[in-house]
Amino acid sequence: MGQNSTGSAGKAILPSRAVLEKRQRRRNLKDSAVKWLIRAGGGAVVISLGLIFVYLFSEVAPVLRGTSIDNPQRFEAPAGGDASSERLMLERYSDIGARLTADGRIVFWKLDDQSVLKTQRIEGNPEAEITSFGSGEPRTRTHVYGFSDGSAVVLEDAYKLTFPNDQRVLIPQLKYPFGTDPLQVDPQGRALRQVTVQPGSSGASGAVIAALTVDDRLVMARVRTRQSFLGGAAEAEVSARDLGAVDPGVTAPIVSTDLSNIIAHDDAGRLHYFNIDDRKPLGLADSAQAVADGADITQLRFLNGSKSWIVGGSDGSLTQWMLVRQDDNRFTLTPMRSFDAHDAAVTAIAADYGRRGFATGDADGVLQLHYSTSHRTTLREQVTEQPIVAIAQSPVDEQLLIEHAGGEILLYELWNEHPDLSFSALWSKVLYEGREEPAYVWQASSGSNTFEPKMSMVPLTIGTLKAALFAMIFAAPLAIAGAIYTAYFMTPRMRQTVKPTIELMEALPTVILGFLAGLWLAPFVEANLPMIFMVLIGLPTGFLLAAMAWQKAPQALRERVPAGWEAAMLVPVVVLVVWVSAALSPWAELWFFNGDMRQWLTSVGITYDQRNALVVGIAMGFAVIPTIFSIAEDAVFTVPKHLTQGSLALGASSWQTVTRVVLLTASPGIFSAVMIGFGRAVGETMIVLMATGNSPVVNFNIFEGMRTLSANIAVELPETAVGSTHYRVLFFAALVLLLFTFVVNTVSEIVRQRLRERYSNL
């Protein structure tokens, strides 16, 4: 175009051809620059919105990754001698390993070059020999050596963290929490053939040393330190106690951290539970067969928290047991679950430090990793041909030390971040420690580090659906009926103000709705419970009566008011019904509910929370009414006019036209309106956060609260550790919400688009 004009026009006015071409080039350049800029920008925006999916998924994905062990290093046990390790330990940074041997030596060595840092020998009383060894929970790093004179020495492997020249240097130390002098455990001074120790936690102070003597008595000593009167070193206070004779086969006692139970087993595959809590009869309280006939128990070890323990059998079986309180307040030994069995006898069990996982080794050199709550065996690997004698995990579960009978130690790097999740842990009933029945429980964290996290998604999912369901029961009829009326019966002028008013509702911040629901509506409903139900019955009755009265009204009056003003005329009816219900509410309570409906509900066995599903239903229904209304109204309003006019022309009444023609045609649109409303109710956060008690219950009782996925995220996410299982589960909840609403919205959007096409074809 530009070229043509240059030829014909005068040169004085128009620039030369060269200038014009240059200008044209620049314009084209600009044009394509803009094109690319917008493409890049637009593409980037679209991609970044897609990034939300990708990112949420990437945060959840590590959960799916299996457990693995890598980079094995193999070396002779440092300062081996001929004694194998009774126990292996790893410190937090995995710089140093420690082995405690049967002959009373503690060897610390550096993991990277296996150089021995320190060796120390435990000394007892003169002429006393070491006869036994035992350990508490790995978390406590407490060990005990028993001697032939009935005494014992308690020690801890400790590591002092120093930073000379900003370099981390760990100095291994042996600590004697109750002094270096041996503590007399057996008052009769006989040799201890088995010994164990456990420092108390959660309120129980001091520690308990329990032992079996060579003459088959169970003895125990409670030890606590006392600052001596004149300051100076702490003094150990020992109260030893003889619990009497036991079966000669009884062996391997372990003490729980509340210092009230001793669990041991015998040579016939039976478990024994001894009570050492003074408030109940001391001594043997229960026994139970724990392995199949013909097999022995070879290993017995508490899991973290010592509420349950793992029994390993000579047949390779692994079962988890716990104590369950019976009706008569007695505790009995109860099996919880069994894990994938080894093919050979279980020779080592090591519990994780801060969670319910454990590692097991067998006589064939196979290593297995398990997790109790999720009931998973996450790893099974042949690591050696020799029997495994000891296993240690680092406190942060990143390293694994294994010693086998050939005197060799294997060091593995471990990746075992999320063994606590499984399909059954999230979605099935799980038997948790201390409970009689499997249950759906969400209780993901607590202050204590021996707490068993309970992460069942069922209560949250049920809660989400419950809240959305009650909201829909309240909102859908009101919104759809209102939409049909507005679109079909209302005068156009009134419609012009009504529709934006209801749509303005959509913009109301949900925090305001939540606040009103929690602080105004919930107490109001509680105080005027009968009123709610009276309004529910009264309003439709009132509308019918009003319609009847209008029917009977004089013709002159009826002609004054045009059709389409019914809604406006009903305003006084609604006000009247609400007012009458409010005034009658206390009387209704008196007449029908003995004076207090709430108490009456409780007395017939219905739990009543002040912030309940009824309140949430009303408040959240309020929030979704405009969404449903707006879309449904559009669907009804855009039904082609010739359809309805045809129906009316054929003699149908307007109500018949609505039900037989309009609704049928618009039903996909109304369906998608309800779907979108449901999607909004599912993801709504503030209203449920404020108007429910946020207790994760599993029921559909309208008078109880719930905890929804979204509210749960809002409450818990700021306080979880980044990368922990809990964190990832919350991301998973967010991903579920995202996918759910996305699918619901897409489906309803497609339905609407097809409906639009159909309308245009009609």
Partner: protein, 559 residues
């Protein structure tokens, strides 16, 4: 009978029924807004102070003075829980009133329920005084005397005027004191903190600079610190002097039941005789209180005082968000409508983008926390602020991340609105421009964008309205109950993107649900809700009116 059936068959009752559903929905909206408006506006109106004689369960007579804040009706069974148990006769209903008796430091609780049968005599005394205090909430009682340096300087009838005059005089000094506390000492603290950070940064880079330079810079930092400390000392003295002056005067009040309480005048804000005030005076009081609410700082764990920081934080965040969301939203809309190849793929993309508007906001919050705060913020800290470790700068929720998260959340809103505007531009206009030889970019800039501008404006306003009311994602990415400093102040770089902010919506949640004295804080929550509601409704109405005008214009254009 058949008549009724015919009537039902005609469908008339059903029309009334669905009309009723609409009426109910509409009345709920109006009722809700009305409830908030009445409670919110009512909060500042000086309430009547009512003195009532109460016969307690043990038969003693007690006098109670306060405002009535609530009443309710009890059935005989509900009466069982009160101290009137057993005295209920038959089916009679009893009512009770909630009194705000204030005087938290004397009575330990601000509210008490009084049963109607227990009230034997009620009067509205003209000389009852409501004292608004900086601590412990309101005081209701009677004036005994005013002291200065321990000497009684006024008592009796004229003492109230004297008290008002003194409080008026105090106000200037108190303002000065607050200014020192909030701004001047804050500024010095900021300088000291900067000096500390500079020092750490210097230590960090010690091997990169010469020893001489190191010494020199160290000396500079030390000098800066010295001056700051000296200034602090001066300020401190100034403040102490003011405080001493303020604390010289005190007022002694008597509660309705006769207990006397002496209070420092510096603790008082305002004294009013509510019952003796004319409507004119009440209006004046109302306006002052309202101004204090909008422009003041919160007191007493947010349950009293103003909400200025929350309004300020909300506005700052929303502005930042707009700056981000507008260009990106508009460019994406132009891309989708004008540049991308229309087809099935684009249809999918468009539906996806639209659907993101319906994704729960908490999901955006989770994304913001994980991606912006932990991933991006963590990287920024590691790159640019190594000297601050282990304290995070951007690796913790803050203004920037809150704005970005909300920008992402509102992006679909802007895209949808802009696209709608672009679609409405008649094809003829665009083609006319192209036919005259304009390039696509020129058509876009000169024709399309100006015509679509109101639509973009609508989108932006809707986005702002949505962002202002959103709370759930903000709880995760940067909003706190009490921010120590505003995000914009006089210290370089003036806009502090890493700071945490306060937010109106979160303020409602926090004060209503997390504060220790919910009952006392409730009126304030209503007022805050009203504020938020007002902002959002007016934004929405603006957007709606722009959109309507736009539709009219294009209807005219295309005809």
């Amino acid at each position: 009978m058949s008549n009724t059936r015919k009537w039902f068959a005609s469908g008339d009752p059903w029309i009334w029924m669905i009309g009723g559903a609409l009426t109910v929905s509409l009345l709920m909206v109006i009722g809700l807004i009305g409830l908030i408006a009445v409670r919110g506006f009512g909060h500042f109106w000086p309430a009547e102070l009512i003195e009532t004689k109460v016969r307690t369960a043990s038969g003693e007579i007690e006098i109670v003075l306060g405002e009535i804040t609530d009443t309710e009706t009890l059935t005989p069974l509900q009466l069982q829980d009160t101290d009137l148990a057993g005295q209920a006769d038959g089916d009679a209903l009893t009512s009770r009133a909630q009194f705000k008796v204030g005087n938290r430091d004397v009575f330990s609780s601000d509210f008490r329920w009084i049963l109607e049968p227990r009230r034997i005599e009620t009067r509205v005394p003209d000389d009852a005084i409501m004292l608004e205090r900086r601590e412990y909430g309101n005081f209701y009682g009677y004036l005994v005397n005013i002291k200065r340096d321990g000497e009684v300087i006024a008592r009796g009838d004229n003492a109230f005027d004297e008290l008002k005059a003194m409080l008026e005089k105090n106000r200037a000094q108190v303002d000065e004191l607050e200014h020192i506390d909030r701004y001047e000492i804050g500024a010095i603290n900021y300088r000291l903190e900067q000096a500390r950070l500079d020092e750490r940064g210097l230590e960090f880079n010690r091997d990169k600079i010469s020893a001489r330079e190191y010494q020199q810079r160290m000396a500079e930092i030390e000098a800066e610190r010295e001056t700051a400390r000296a200034q602090y000392k001066d300020l401190r003295e100034q403040r102490d002097a003011l405080m001493r002056e303020l604390n010289r005067a005190s007022v002694t009040m008597r509660t309705a039941d006769g207990r006397e309480k002496e209070m420092k005048l510096s603790n008082l804000i305002r004294a009013t005789r509510n019952n003796a005030m004319s409507v004119f005076e009440k209006t004046g009081y109302y306006l002052v209180k309202f101004k204090e609410f909008v422009l003041g700082y919160p007191r007493e764990a947010n349950t009293e005082g103003g909400i200025m920081p929350a309004i300020f934080g909300t506005i700052t965040m929303v502005l930042l968000m707009s700056i981000v969301v507008t260009p990106f939203g508009v460019i994406a809309a132009i891309y989708l409508r004008e540049y991308a190849r229309q087809g099935t793929f684009l249809r999918i993309v468009r539906i996806s983008v639209y659907n993101l508007a319906g994704v729960p906001s908490i999901v955006f919050g989770v994304f913001g926390l994980g991606f912006f705060v932990y991933t991006m913020g963590g990287s920024i800290d590691a790159l640019f602020y190594p000297e601050r470790a282990p304290q995070p700068v951007f690796g913790t929720p803050g203004l920037l991340w809150a704005s970005l998260t909300l920008a992402l959340l509102t992006l679909p809103v802007v895209i949808v609105a802009t696209e709608e505007g672009l679609t409405r531009i008649p094809r003829a206009v665009r083609e006319g421009s192209l036919a005259l030889g304009a390039t696509k970019a020129e058509t876009l800039r000169r024709i399309v964008l100006p015509m679509a501008a109101p639509a973009m404006m609508t989108g932006l306003i809707l986005a702002v309205a949505r962002a202002a009311g959103e709370v759930a994602p903000l709880m995760l990415v940067g909003v706190v109950k009490l921010a120590p400093a505003l995000p914009i102040d006089g210290e370089f770089p003036f806009l502090h993107l890493e700071r945490k902010i306060m937010h109106l919506g979160f303020h409602i949640y926090d004060v209503g649900f997390q504060s220790p004295n919910v009952e006392a804080a409730r009126p304030l929550v209503y007022a805050t809700s009203l504020m938020l509601l007002f902002i959002i409704i007016s934004l929405n109405l603006t957007a709606i009116s722009i959109r309507n005008r736009l539709r009219e214009r294009f209807r005219a254009d295309s005809d």
